[in-house]
Symmetry: C2
């Protein structure tokens, strides 16, 4: 098998002028729309006015718009996209060979930018709308650091102040992520911190805590609403984020269409749902409109199994309960994954859009243990070259499992998965894996029950 | 200025079938050939037989061949190249705008692979020829870690054992680089080590030393020659390495030719010369054949100024004096850059090919202080997105200086520079820069005289 004689190249790059010029809003094609965000005090749907106290104006519009199918991408954002997009669609010839599978495996690789992941797709959009509104800056939280880095890059480009609350344990374990953000001029604070009311309360209740994403969200929101000229931005979960991330799926679909390829199975890792939602959007749209059929699989960590073991219910988006309620698959806002869990995908909930699709039987999900995920990551690195992020490696593992099923059955399925990012800042986790000190952790039903107790009575 | 309306896209990617299928051997067009390697014991040119005790057979052939102009790239190497090549040629629209320069700036970006640099281009070639010879494995040294990572990736692909001697201070300061190499199955030893005779001697003479590249080379060579089925491979300096790296320049030239662009100035950072030599090769070939004219600039650190302040003389390639002598611009094999020096480009000598071109007046050189280099790196990261390696940032700084000269004179020069890699494993140095603790160090004439005293009397 020679690369030269293959009809389909190893990497398919769209031309710059083939870049999508509009995002695709999947909600327009959903019969059962995702449930609206609720005001926790009144139980009523959040109005645009209420949301605008926290979020940028145009982003609130996008958040609430579940009817416009195509949303044009502003020119400034398109210009920025051209720094690192179109991203390649890669045919995993070497992985196929290593697995001896008849399956054809493709992955959309979003890691070739300094943020190291797909997060930049939404960061630049959110920074753009903040700038357009004349704001001074934005606040956010970051866990593993990909979203914070992406936002720092976008804010540097737009000339905005960027304040990042970084989960304390990540802040300490990933000093280099912090330095990347500082290179782009961001202000990074370990969370929980003494700088916010909610941070001080959490520190009082849990002295010495390493923090959590839900807690960092609470601090970032408080910071934004208590400073004029600031708004809060979020890198996942929200409808607007999935909208921006639709660029992943649109490009992947355009590249596949160019070569007449139709995937049978589409796989993405799922934490808050930004990558999975973006990757599947245009394909799911076809399915909803009855134009094509695909199988969709969310790959999540067994240690934080919102889609496979969570409840579909209204819940708080953050630990401090300063955010609206969202209807989603959730483990409860008090749920914190085991400290043994490496990498991201540690959010207690899941995007309302994906949650609704899951509830409607349109989205399958698998929960994977991390040592098996790192084994898949190492195999992938050795044969495909790229060292993947732990998050992305959940999708790799799920794709390998599908490809091995094809090997058993002889089916020549076409598998598409999202390779969201690189693992260059996750080598501590790889070190644990190499040294054999990485352990798996699956929460017991009793562990989960404890998390569910924090669900609000709505 | 909109990206859409520009004739030249932000990134120019060649198609996979436009990948060069032969390396270009610049020596074939050089009137004054680089001087041969000498046996330090006899003073006579090293024979192929002598070299084959250390290096792989086919690589020795390439090392000695200064007449064949085009050397076909074996199919297995081409297949591997397709994992991460063609690499993009980027028009630095955003940098041009930030500098308000009439100059047109392009960079060939070699960092979008897990080794994080251009080193992979030669690593896969060397691993291929080692495998072809039926060897068990290869040994090498690494400083900043890019070459070691690249070789580990290539050996994983070829199924070869890979033993890396990593400069001890880097081994300790860059544990994550080590983990990347381990992910690809390499065996990494901090140098100087107790595992070799030369390592033990150096440790006896300099207890507590952080090591040097020249010392790690000595250990790797000793390891190779004392174990059957092993050979030593080197990531820079050698003729064969520049040959493999010509892929950089060939692709850059093909991409520019496609759009009718002709550079006026071509700039590369220079440590041992692998990237600079590769980038300029086809352009220099045109100049040597009288077909076109270009200005070439080597950008080197002021703290390790071989081209600007070194002597053009025969010297040892390593500290332990186990290697042949090479005629090159050198600071003496005892020269070790100040510990304040961050990043790579710390080799005492320079590729014989580039040294000869320099001696013949065909290659200009500038020496840059590191704080100004990191300032350029930070500006570049913020406007162009990619966070550059400290090494590559020397070329960025030199390119910015050229572009600012154009701003003064109004000249619309076209500048091409090599962006060899990303700085994701160099955040310690960025942290020093952010904290204001990075200092510049320019060796005094007396410092240099001390290094020159280690030159052999040939």
């Amino acid at each position: 098998m020679t690369a030269q004689s293959r009809e389909i190249p190893y990497k398919i790059y769209l031309e710059e002028n083939e870049l999508p010029t509009a995002w695709y809003n999947l909600r327009a094609d959903m019969k059962n729309k995702p449930a609206p965000l609720l005001n926790p005090a009144t139980g009523a749907p959040m109005s645009a006015e209420e949301l605008e106290a926290v979020f940028c104006r145009d982003l609130v519009r996008q958040e609430l718009d579940d009817t416009s199918r195509d949303i044009p991408i502003p020119k400034d954002i398109l210009d920025f996209y051209k720094m690192y997009r179109p991203s390649p669609l890669v045919r995993a010839y070497f992985l196929e060979k290593a697995l001896e599978t008849p399956a054809k495996i493709y992955y959309k690789f979003e890691g070739n930018n300094t943020s190291g992941s797909h997060k930049l797709n939404s960061a630049i959009a959110q920074a753009y709308y903040a700038k357009k509104q004349g704001l001074i800056g934005v606040t956010t939280e970051t866990g593993a650091g990909q979203w914070g880095t992406a936002l720092a890059m976008a804010c540097a480009y737009m000339g905005l102040d960027c304040r990042v609350y970084m989960v304390k344990i990540s802040y300490e374990q990933k000093p280099f992520r912090r330095e990347v953000m500082r290179t782009y001029g961001a202000d990074v604070t370990p969370s929980p911190s003494e700088t916010t009311h909610v941070g001080r309360e959490i520190l009082k209740a849990h002295p010495g805590t390493g923090g959590s994403l839900g807690c960092a969200i609470s601090e970032a929101v408080e910071d934004a609403v208590s400073h004029e000229g600031y708004r809060y931005v979020l890198g996942s979960v929200l409808n607007q984020v999935l909208l921006h991330q639709s660029i992943i799926g649109l490009e992947a679909k355009a590249a596949m269409d160019k070569f007449g390829i139709k995937p049978d199975v589409i796989i993405g890792c799922a934490g808050g749902g930004s990558n999975l939602g973006g990757l599947i959007s245009p394909f799911m749209g076809e399915k909803l409109r009855g134009e094509a059929d695909y199988r969709f699989i969310a790959a999540e960590p067994a240690s934080c199994p919102s889609l496979t073991r969570g409840r579909f219910a209204y819940d708080f988006c953050d630990t401090g309960h300063v955010c609206p309620l969202a209807k989603m698959y959730t483990l409860g806002s008090d749920f914190i994954p085991s400290p043994n869990h490496a990498g991201g995908l540690r959010y207690h909930g899941m995007s309302p859009v994906l949650s609704q699709l899951r509830a409607d039987g349109l989205l399958d999900a698998v929960a994977l243990e991390q040592t098996s995920v790192f084994s898949a990551a190492e195999l992938f690195a050795r044969v495909e070259g790229t060292l993947p992020a732990p998050e992305s490696s959940h999708a790799i593992k799920a794709a390998i499992d599908e490809a091995l099923k094809c090997k058993e059955t002889g089916e020549e399925k076409t598998i598409l998965f999202g390779l969201t990012g690189t693992g260059y800042f996750d080598m501590k986790a790889y070190e644990q894996f190499h040294n054999g000190t990485m352990i798996d952790f699956i929460p017991s039903d009793a562990d989960l029950e404890q998390g569910f107790r924090s669900l609000p009575a709505v």
